[in-house]
């Protein structure tokens, strides 16, 4: 279960990062900006994190689950930061194939602009 929770928090942070201009441009090319989709990404990311918290509560009681959840969040955030710094192509792939946020987002960008990474 903890692995599932970790995957959820990790993907959550991938989407959080997508809401930030710089990381969005790394995937979609220079002149792009997430614009209002930013809020969509953040909402999806929050849902991921909440789902992860729920997964944690199935294993631990709420008080411990929250602590485990926060621990997972830290780990996921650091890994996403590392991914963005040293393996941004992996990050792009993860975004393309692993994230709900992308499915909900405007598909036009995918078609019109070949990703730069």
């Amino acid at each position: 279960m903890i692995i599932l929770a970790f995957i959820l928090t990790f993907l959550g942070f991938v989407q959080f990062a997508m809401a930030i201009d710089g990381h969005y441009q790394a995937v979609y090319g220079r002149c792009q900006k997430p614009g209002r989709r930013r809020y969509l990404f953040q909402a999806v990311a929050c849902l991921h994190l909440l789902a992860a918290l729920w997964v944690c509560t199935t294993t631990w009681q709420l008080s411990i689950a929250i602590i485990v959840w926060i621990g997972l969040i830290q780990l996921a955030a650091v890994l996403v930061a590392g991914l963005l710094t040293w393996r941004s192509s992996w990050y792009g792939a993860l975004w393309r194939f692993g994230c709900l946020g992308r499915l909900c987002a405007d598909q036009k960008h995918d078609i019109n602009h070949t990703p730069s990474v």
Binding site: F13, Q61, V68, Q74, V78
Partner: protein, 540 residues
């Protein structure tokens, strides 16, 4: 208003953290290691390393048999069963005519498979690191606690002012820009702090609260926390007990297997310990305690069940006591308990403990990068001034030197003769002597590749720890792996990873120093390696 306010926060952040930053780093590192205190002590007593995995029932059986020899007339016995954190069985008893007193830790550690009393070497173990992280060493306990308390207060100030001064906390959330000198150090510092901010706040604040009794000087009863150490009796003393002439007629042994199976099923997890009242009599009563703590509000232990000699469960009403009801008389006490349990990760299983450990590493990284950042920012303008040189010297000792000292502490554990007089003291002496030597080295020769030398020395010590372990433990590494001696193997693994991490940073420092010398930056070559880390340049 906004500008000056932020500026003053920056000033506060810089200087409040600088005062005790070296101490803070040591506290953070040793505190992080304390999450694995039990495991470290296990590693440091190779006589207790196991060669074969033992199931709970065998361990309980052999402990029972051993107790019938050790304390046949005992008023009560208790057995702490092997766990994933410590594969040895601990036994203790209240002997006939002995006052019942609350003691911490077992009286003797026995081999879980055959019940033999283990002749473990004297070691300061993980307890030294644990004590050091909140009481320091060689000073009255209250003084040490007060100093650490002040340091955590400064840390809290630094965290809060750091959050305020940070302008783009969300848009720079994941940003790390390597190869950019000062900017990279700032990014590293920010990543270490912001991403694990909840942990830092929790650990600093709860640490402060735990030490609060020593900080309030009008408190009449300072240091109410436990200072008790598990004290085990030397095997020679146990033999003395063995020779008691009167033996009790052997009473029926309870159905331990049945009791354990029933309890494990009810707990939904492993059993941590057994406590037997009136052993060797017909009205023996067996109390079984669960290893899992399912709430932050629990008391000292997990759920408990009671059985009689025939293995029938007694239905009494003390399941999983909620400490908020039984222990806490007020909200403040309840908060204190929650903070204490959280700070010490008492509830944690292996994976959650790992999460705390990683967060602790991030915290240490935050402090270390902060210390280096102070120097990096001032290299151009202040190099050569007394303050600058002092800080860069202390940085080298406190960061790289501490790693060397910890490494040699572990080496001393294995290389000092096992039956040495006051052996644990010598381990600690080696730790501090090494640290002192690194200070001396930093003072005399930090400009001659000081960082590279100390980092690579620490790396060598840590990388060779598994080899040392394999050579000096009675149980080989492979045998330990087969026997699932995870505390030991995990220790070796983490040491190896730490060692390679240190090695990488050592070579990174060297590369940069050499490049900088080649580029002729900063004029005099001799001075270039003054703070090699400070030379992190655009030429990775």
């Amino acid at each position: 208003m906004k500008g000056p306010f932020r500026q003053s926060m920056t000033w506060l952040h810089t200087w409040s953290s600088l005062i005790l930053i070296w101490l803070l780093f040591a506290v953070f590192v040793t505190g992080t290691l304390s999450f694995y205190r039990t495991e470290i002590t296990h590693w440091m007593q190779p006589e207790g390393h196991i060669a074969n995995k033992v199931d709970t029932v065998t361990a309980a059986d052999s402990a029972w048999d051993r107790l019938t020899l050790l304390a046949p007339w005992g008023k009560s016995w208790s057995v702490s069963l092997p766990s994933e954190r410590n594969p040895k069985t601990g036994v203790s008893w209240v002997a006939e005519g002995e006052a019942e007193e609350r003691r911490r830790g077992p009286r003797a550690l026995i081999n879980a498979s055959n019940g033999e009393v283990l002749a473990l070497r004297e070691t300061a173990g993980g307890n030294f690191l644990y004590d050091f992280h909140f009481e320091l060493y060689a000073m009255p306990r209250d003084v040490g606690r007060t100093i650490v308390g002040v340091a955590s207060m400064l840390m809290l100030v630094a965290i809060i002012s750091g959050v305020i001064m940070h302008r783009k906390i969300f848009s720079d959330f994941f940003t790390f820009r390597p190869r950019k000198r000062t900017v990279s150090w700032i990014d590293g510092h920010v990543i270490g702090s912001v991403l694990a901010l909840p942990f830092h706040i929790m650990i600093t604040f709860s640490g402060l609260v735990l030490l609060s009794s020593t900080l309030l000087f009008w408190n009449s009863n300072p240091g109410t926390q436990n200072g008790g150490r598990p004290t085990t009796v030397a095997p020679s003393q146990l033999e003395h007990i063995n020779t008691s002439t009167h033996t009790r007629p052997a009473a029926v042994k309870p159905d331990l297997a049945g009791i354990l199976a029933d309890a494990e099923q009810l707990f939904g997890g492993p059993v941590a310990s057994l406590n037997i009242q009136h052993p060797m009599t017909a009205n023996a009563r067996i109390q079984v305690t669960s290893a899992t703590r399912d709430s932050l509000f629990g008391g000292r232990t997990g759920r408990q069940l009671h059985y009689d000699l025939n293995g029938n469960r007694q239905n009494d009403a003390s399941p999983g006591d909620t400490a908020v009801q039984s222990m806490a008389s007020s909200l403040a006490t309840a908060v204190f308990i929650v903070l204490k349990v959280t700070h010490e990760a008492r509830f944690a299983d292996v994976i959650t403990r790992m999460l705390f450990f990683i967060a602790g590493i991030l915290g240490s990284a935050m402090v270390a990068t902060g210390a280096v950042l102070w120097v990096v920012k001032r290299t151009r303008k202040q190099a050569g001034s007394v303050g600058y040189e002092l800080v860069s010297m202390l940085n080298l000792t406190a960061i790289a030197g501490l790693m060397v000292a910890i490494g040699s502490y572990f080496w001393a554990n294995r290389l000092l003769p096992a039956d040495m007089e006051s052996r644990d003291l010598w381990e600690i002496r080696v730790f501090f002597l090494t640290w002192l030597l690194t200070l001396l080295h930093a003072y005399l020769a930090r400009k001659q590749h000081g960082w590279f030398i100390q980092l690579s020395l620490a790396a060598t010590l840590f990388i060779c720890i598994p080899i040392l372990d394999g050579l000096t433990s009675p149980v080989g590494l492979w045998a330990g792996l087969v026997a699932h001696d995870w505390p030991r193997i995990g220790f070796d693994l983490i040491a190896l990873i730490t060692g390679f991490g240190l090695l990488m940073s050592a070579f990174w420092v060297r590369q940069h120093t050499l490049k900088r010398i080649k580029n002729g930056e900063g004029g005099n070559h001799h001075n270039n390696s003054r703070a090699p880390i400070a030379t992190r340049g655009s030429t990775v």
